[in-house]
Structures are given as C-alpha cells and as structure tokens.
Amino acid sequence: MTVSVRIPGPLRPLCDGKSRLVVEGATTVAAAIGQLPAGVRERILDERGAVRPHVNVFVGETSIRETGGLATPLADGASIFVIPAVSGGSYVLQP
C-alpha cells in the first residue's frame, strides 16, 4: 500500500527539496506522518504528537479534523496534503 504526502515549501529543505514523498504501508495519517524524515514530522506535530495549531492536514480534499484526526484511515493511493493555515501569520502581541 502506497500513499503520497505533499510537503509545503518551507519544509522541503528538510527532505532534499522534494515536494512529494511516498510512504509505504501506512494505514492511518499518523502512521504516514510518522514515516516522514526527522524534522519534518516534528514541524507538523508538536511534542505531544498533536498537529500544530496552524497546520492543516488533508486527505484528498477533506481535512482530517472532519474524519477522525490523525487516526483517519488511508486507502491505497491516498494523497495527504500538509498545508500551512491562513491563521499562522497573525499574533496577539505580548504583553
């Protein structure tokens, strides 16, 4: 079973410039992300293993928020898209 993961531009330097990685044998989104190179997966997931607040993950055109999160099952040939959220550039400034 093979799925592909689309890598956003800022993370491509961490995977030899590739925009798409192929993962074998992953039956859930968590398993697929877990096979990504070190550094890439830590930028998608925080140290608790949760998807970072301003990162969106889709399987096909559907956000995994609607399909069970990281436990979302994958079919053979599925495409995972990792996309920075539009909310990421805005901050509540300290103090």
Partner: protein, 376 residues
C-alpha cells in the same frame, strides 16, 4: 539605508540585536554611527528572545524563533549573524509525560562565566530549560516543573511565560527566575528545590494583594558586582530586594507610574538602573505621550527622566519587557525598541538619544554588546 548580508564586524564595534514580531534585525555601531547590517532575518517569525554570548573564548548569538506554522527553535550563530543554525529537530521539547508543547522561547540566558556551555531558556508554558552543550540540546528543569504551585500559575497578557533567569555569578547553588503570572522563584540548593519569593510584591489583580505567589512580575535585574541585590518591575510596582530576593520594598520614588515592563541594569554601576514607565495596565503607553526613560543612580532612592533626543509630544509608545538593554562600553550604550517599531540608542549612559530606525515590526527584545573578536 543599505543592507548587507555579510555583515563585517571589527573588534570594538557595537552589535545591536533587535528581535521583532517579524524577525531579527542587526545594527552595527562603529565610530559615532550605526548602520543596519542585516534583517529581517527569519522574516515573518516572532523572536521574543536573543542573547549575545562571548564566554569561553568564542562568540555566539542565540535567537528563539517561532515559526508561524512549524514551531519554535533555538538558533545559534557562530559568525556574528552571517549564518544561523537550522536544527533539523526542535532542540527544546517537553518530555512526553508532561503533555505540554513548547509555544515560545521568552528568555535566553547564558550561564555562569566558567560554564561556557551552559545555557538556560525560559519558555511558554512557564518552564525552565537547561543546555550543557552550548544550546544544541536542552532538558527540562524538573524541579521547577514539578513545583506544586504550577497548577495555580495563570497566563499573563503574553501567555504563561518564564521571562527572567538570573544565575548568581559566584554561588552556583543560587538562581532566581520570574514568570507572568506566578512571580519570583528562587533556588539556593542548585535547583533541587524552588521557593516562591514574593514577600512585599503586590498583586493588584487578586483579592489578596500580597499572596505567597501569583504576582505578575514583569522583569527582574541585578548587577554581577552586587548579585544579591535585585531590582524588579512589577505589574504595578517597582521594587528592590537587598537580601537575595527574600523581601522586596517599594522604590517608586519620583516616577510618573510604577507600571511598566522594561528594566535594565547599568553595565558598570550597580546603583544605576533604567526603566520605561507606562501609564497603566489599561493604557500601556508612555505617560503624557512623552517618551521618557527613567534612570536611578542611587539604587531607587530617586529616579530622573532622560529625554534629550526622545520625542516629548504625541509619543504613545510601549517598550516591552526585554526591549531595553545596555552594552558594556564605557560610557555605556543604552538601547530600546518600541512596539511601534522605533529603535533608540544612547552612547552616553542615557544622557542623549538618537533614533536608529523607524518602521521596524513591533520590537520584542533588544540585546547589545561590544564585539570582542570581529567577524571570523
């Protein structure tokens, strides 16, 4: 103003590191002038903490960057900002059992002079991390993390940040940290245990104005020559402790407001401290729309405004807690950046000021030094 990426520094130049909500800017002081020589570095990334570290015969810059999407890192430059590290894996991580995730790095504090590979970071959520390999890797200081008060620490306006780390330069058992909210905590046994140390500090926002802990301390400084005496800018309140932080007494003598964030110690005179008072917690701007740095030269017995070269009309400015700093020159360079993106410098202990830049992104932190070795 031309910007070069390959900034060259010579021994004796001043380096001014400016952290903003959209990256790092670097200024070089040579002769009587300053020039922006880099920035924005890490464009789009808030940088709440910077450090200049020339211990152990080598010079390193450190920056705590928060990528808008992909998390926070500690980055290091060994060539005065020409190149910066890009750690493949995050170098500050909460252990799995904590069920916490790092938000931002709020403070980078080089350790003691004879421990050049020790580096501390204060972070949100309120925690202290320690590195013993010069910042390549960090471990959570468990004794503070496990403090029974932790469950009652609450977020201040900037989140749950541990923003002040002061290691005693001689006594390796002693360190003071401060957080918003939570207040001051001290260890005197090398980090085995930590005690709340807020006696005398007000908490205007709580029913009990003098609780054991829970104060919203904004900044604490001390001078290496008198490390047991501390000065503290509180969320309402200006204090000094003469007994290592055990007790605090009010020193708001002659300031327009005892509310503020920024505080810096003079590099050579332990009795001289700088602050930038703000009107109130409800209106966090310089009082009377005048941008005034206040300086005490008698350890808080009196404070005098420093205004020459600073706008005294229509200046509704805010200086954040790490936005004010000094270099080690004599007379000292004093620097501060504003939330409106202005950067000011004084080469005369604060006697007069020049505006080095306008239009920067909101300034979160400023650090400065006299370069010892120049660019490699």
């Amino acid at each position: 103003m031309p910007v070069t990426r390959a900034s060259d520094f010579r021994p004796g130049d001043r380096i001014v590191l400016v952290g903003t909500m959209k990256g790092v800017f670097v200024f070089r002081g040579r002769g009587r002038g300053y020039q922006r020589v880099d920035g924005p570095r890490f464009p789009g990334q808030p940088v709440y903490a910077l450090a200049y570290d020339d211990r152990g015969g080598r010079t390193r810059l450190h920056a705590g960057t928060e990528h808008p999407h992909f998390g926070s890192l500690l980055r290091t430059s060994a060539d005065l900002g020409r190149t910066w590290s890009e750690p493949a894996e995050p170098n500050l991580k909460f252990p799995a059992d904590t069920d916490l995730a790092l938000k931002q790095i709020w403070q980078i504090a080089p350790g003691r002079a004879d421990e050049p590979d020790v580096l501390y970071c204060g972070v949100n959520p309120s925690s202290l991390f320690e590195s013993r390999d010069g910042g390549l890797s960090f471990s959570l200081v468990r004794s503070l993390y496990d403090h029974p008060h932790r469950a009652k620490w609450t977020p201040g306006g900037g989140g749950m940040c541990l923003h002040t780390i002061l290691a005693h330069p001689q006594d390796k058992r002693t360190m003071l940290v401060a957080m918003s909210t939570g207040g001051v905590y001290r260890t005197t046994d090398g980090g085995m245990s930590w005690q709340a140390s807020n006696t005398g500090i007000r908490a205007e926002f709580l029913p009990d104005k003098h609780p054991e802990f829970g104060q919203c301390v904004h900044k604490v400084v001390h001078h290496p020559a008198r490390p047991d005496r501390y000065f503290l800018q509180n969320h309402w309140g200006l204090y000094r402790s003469d007994d290592g932080g055990a007790n605090w007494k009010d020193i708001a003598n002659g300031v327009p407001s005892d509310f503020g964030f920024a505080m810096a110690s003079h590099p050579h005179d332990p009795d001289t401290v700088y602050i930038v008072p703000l009107e109130s917690d409800g209106f966090r701007c310089t009082p009377e729309a005048r941008l005034r740095v206040y300086r005490t030269r008698d350890a808080g017995a009196s404070w005098k405004p420093l205004t020459r070269g600073l706008p005294q009309k229509d200046a509704w400015e805010t200086v954040l807690r790490d936005g004010l700093t000094t270099d080690a020159a004599d007379p000292a360079g004093i620097y501060f950046g504003t939330r409106s993106g202005k950067l000011f410098a004084s080469r005369s202990d604060g006697g007069s000021w020049d505006c080095l830049a306008e239009g920067l992104p909101p300034v979160t932190c400023v650090r400065a030094a006299v370069v010892r070795d120049g660019t490699p």
